[in-house]
Symmetry: C2
Subunit: 499 residues, 2 copies
């Protein structure tokens, strides 16, 4: 039986080859690029795919770029799509497609599943995913978690078993701090087995600060970078490479003392945000109980320069990083750098608190009514992605909220200006805000897209409907809009107390 | 027997009068200021005393200012000193004494213990302290806490029993949110008992953002203010008053919806800082275990505008606010706004984590040696105040650290450029950095005063001594300074891993 891997964006099916040998294609690609250093990007996910484009369109160097991923049902389509003319990541950043087309035109970007390619790599960039296995309680609070390094280690082993002696290996994956050192040991041991010298292998760690959205490419190419190496020659080599793909004159590089430092820096950045959100979550509950509009309080506090980064509450925290990076750190603290060390309780509590947010938001809605009231109600969700201005639905808090509505037997209508197909739920999403269903009972603002803010037409359309419940989980409605809507509707805003 | 109250700054003793009647003096003071509205400031602590000065030197209004406090051993000296020509708060801000002298010259500032003064007040400003009673475990982590409102309520009762019908009462004390409403009920009930109308009483809440230090006065007069009232006329009245003492054209006022909102805003501001510190504390431990210099990591992270407010680790959190305000909030959430609500676990954990910092810092020092090594060692502490550039020793983390050194039978030498007498320990502090004891074993940087940073002479002096242990708990030493000191000494820095 044929194994199929489907591109969820184009719906095109690709047959996974039985005989996993792509060597001829790789050789032919390299023959067309035979004077260029070869960059091999391991992992074609949200970061790796775009990183490949940035390398294929380097600032002051011509690379031959080979993207690799697994020939699995969930990943093979990325490889096939890249070679077939469709970039596997949709983005509101026009530069993404522009860079892809340029690379295709220059013919310096090829994708493969075959580790045969590794032997030609001058630079390997590790961008594979490393997930946390969470155990959650019924309110989605954290009841435990684990980190499985085996997939990551196996990818690193591929490098050690196939690469040449003077390769630069740049790990960009967000890892539990200490992992680059483990990777280095694996690679060294594989080189020794092959009778090769490890002396000229350079290994470094550097993390991107990729933001999906309208500045996707710029968030790699035009942003500050932190890097390190397992030794000085490695760090120098990483620096030399980064200078070819990042505008380092405007965004200077920062070298840190060792790979543990850059690894900690990455997860600390994301943990800092996760913690600041979770902190405000408890105050949001407090504000509701005390009849206080937390949004106006935070506006007042932000006038202090020392308090500008204070966050706003909302329906939840999503995306790939903030939901797991604090746990990677806590796991590392307990398991890598030394046995017997304690974890990071505040950082773990941050994840747990944030994970509970969508369930809380749903329960808040439910508490406005008698039991069973929600059954059969027609509910319009405005926004399904986890972040304003972005079509990224990975770990979107709206998913948990949506599932609760399904359990309550609501009829759900979805809208998101950036999402036409919601992969995690396998459902289509409307992108037409002007023709919302006229027959709805509840409208819920779930993502803070700018299309929903200060939108007079939307407010007028909603005001015209009969006796809606309007539930703003993210504080996007202005006082004036609430005044207009309250004439005919009930308006509830998370973190605002009674209006 | 005579009861004495001693001014700890001048060492002058004041006899507390037996007959607590100051009415003649009050009448005489008012007769000398008989055309001016009377501002009565309740509480002559760090905030109330300076607030009195700001009112006595209002921007565009002439007030007669009466400061009040209790005729107790711990407070009477403040009253007596003010009338005697000595301002009861020492400050590095030259404006403090300047404003005090101006007020004395204008003769519009008087202090008393006698509630007889209340009946003349047009404006009462409540600046009395409200403390948290903490229970701590042996590492100073929080094992429980309570809030006792009785002292506060009794002061509010004084207002209700003595003030006139059209008074403005402005509560500035940091209180558990909900307290202004409680105060309002107490005052109304006392007015009713006296057969007076409560209709014209205005009650509001506004918090200062006082920073002890070189900008003490400016932190009141030239800074953003948040305020509210129990009703609109109250809020208007507060606004009118604040416009006379604050440069509101440069620092616009922010009115919030109700007194709960401003009360929450105040404790949220301080809890935000406390939480950001405690968060970095756990990462500081992580960095030590992983051999990472957290200071360079944080420098790298701060390049992101969204991460500018990330804090640095240190020896601990001190002062009057950050050590208790998160607890006031959590207490209120559980006890005032509704019974049965949960507290604020992250905010409580923040206080507990921060409270443990000095004990951790001491244990880190101890762990460098064998048991009993510290006994008899000569230890020089650089800095005793809780904050750089400031002589404020209230709740200084150095106090706990000092007490641990005492327990270990160290011989301790103290230096602080801003503190000559350490009230909490009852001990003198040297202010002469050039003549440190030459016979010391351990030098510990405990406060980040600018006098210790980039001080070549200090580093040279230290470098010259024999085989010191230099312990930097706050990361004040630069890499270059560490290099110099390491030639002859062992250098340890909290949060830096092995150097």
């Amino acid at each position: 039986m044929k194994k199929i891997s489907k591109n969820p964006i184009t719906n095109k099916n690709y047959v996974i080859p039985k005989l996993l040998d792509d060597s001829e294609n790789i050789k032919y690609f390299l023959s067309r690029n035979n004077d260029k250093p070869v960059v091999l990007v391991q992992g074609l996910g949200f970061v790796g795919a775009v990183m490949s484009l940035v390398c294929a369109n380097a600032l002051n160097k011509e690379y031959a770029v080979i993207g690799t991923d697994l020939a699995s049902e969930s990943s093979y389509w990325k490889i096939a799509s890249i070679n077939d003319g469709f970039f596997p990541v949709t983005s509101s950043d026009p530069k993404v497609n522009e860079y892809y087309l340029k690379a295709k035109e220059k013919d310096n970007f090829y994708a493969t599943y075959d580790t045969f390619a590794y032997q030609f790599a001058d630079i390997v960039i590790v961008d594979i995913n490393l997930d946390v296995q969470k155990k959650s309680s019924s309110d989605h609070g954290l009841s435990g978690f684990d980190v499985d390094l085996s997939g990551f280690k196996s990818a690193i082993k591929d490098i050690g078993q196939n690469c040449k002696e003077n390769v630069l290996i740049l790990i960009e994956t967000t890892v539990p701090p200490g992992t680059s050192k483990i990777a280095s040991e694996i690679i060294e041991s594989e080189y020794l087995k092959r009778g090769l010298s490890f002396n000229n292998v350079k290994i470094g760690h550097s993390y991107e600060r990729v933001m999906p959205g309208p500045n996707y490419i710029d968030s790699i190419q035009n942003f500050y970078r932190v890097y390190s190496g397992i030794d000085e020659k490695s760090a120098n080599s990483v620096e030399q490479f980064l200078r070819t793909i990042i505008k380092t004159d405007e965004y200077p590089l920062t070298r840190l003392g060792n790979t543990n430092a850059t690894e900690i820096s990455k997860v600390l950045e994301n943990s800092y945000r996760a913690m600041n959100i979770s902190f405000i979550v408890e105050w949001s509950r407090f504000a509701e109980e005390a009849g206080v509009n937390l949004y106006e309080v935070i506006d007042a506090i932000r006038m202090r320069p020392t308090h500008k980064n204070i966050m706003l509450p909302g329906i939840g925290v999503g995306g790939y990083c903030l939901t797991k990076d604090p746990l990677l750190a806590s796991w590392s603290k307990q398991n890598i750098n030394g046995k017997g060390f304690k974890g990071l309780p505040m950082s773990e509590m941050a994840v747990s608190t944030n994970d509970k947010m969508p369930t809380y938001a749903f329960n808040f809605l439910k508490s406005q009514y008698d039991d069973n009231y929600l059954k059969g109600k027609k509910v319009q969700l405005l926004g399904v992605s986890y972040l304003s201005g972005v079509g990224d639905t990975r770990h979107s808090p709206v998913e948990i909220f949506y599932n609760e509505l399904v359990k309550s037997e609501c009829v759900i209508y979805l809208h998101d200006p950036y999402v036409s197909y919601w992969e995690e739920i396998d459902i289509n999403v409307s992108q037409d805000l002007d023709s919302l269903n006229q027959d709805i009972d509840i409208v819920i603002f779930t993502t803070g897209h700018s299309e929903y803010a200060n939108n007079q037409k939307l407010i007028q359309n909603l005001a015209r409907l009969d006796g809606l419940l309007i539930y703003d989980t993210i504080g996007i409605l202005s006082d004036k809009e609430i005044d207009i809507l309250q004439k005919n509707h009930t308006v509830k805003v998370l973190g605002r107390g009674d209006i």
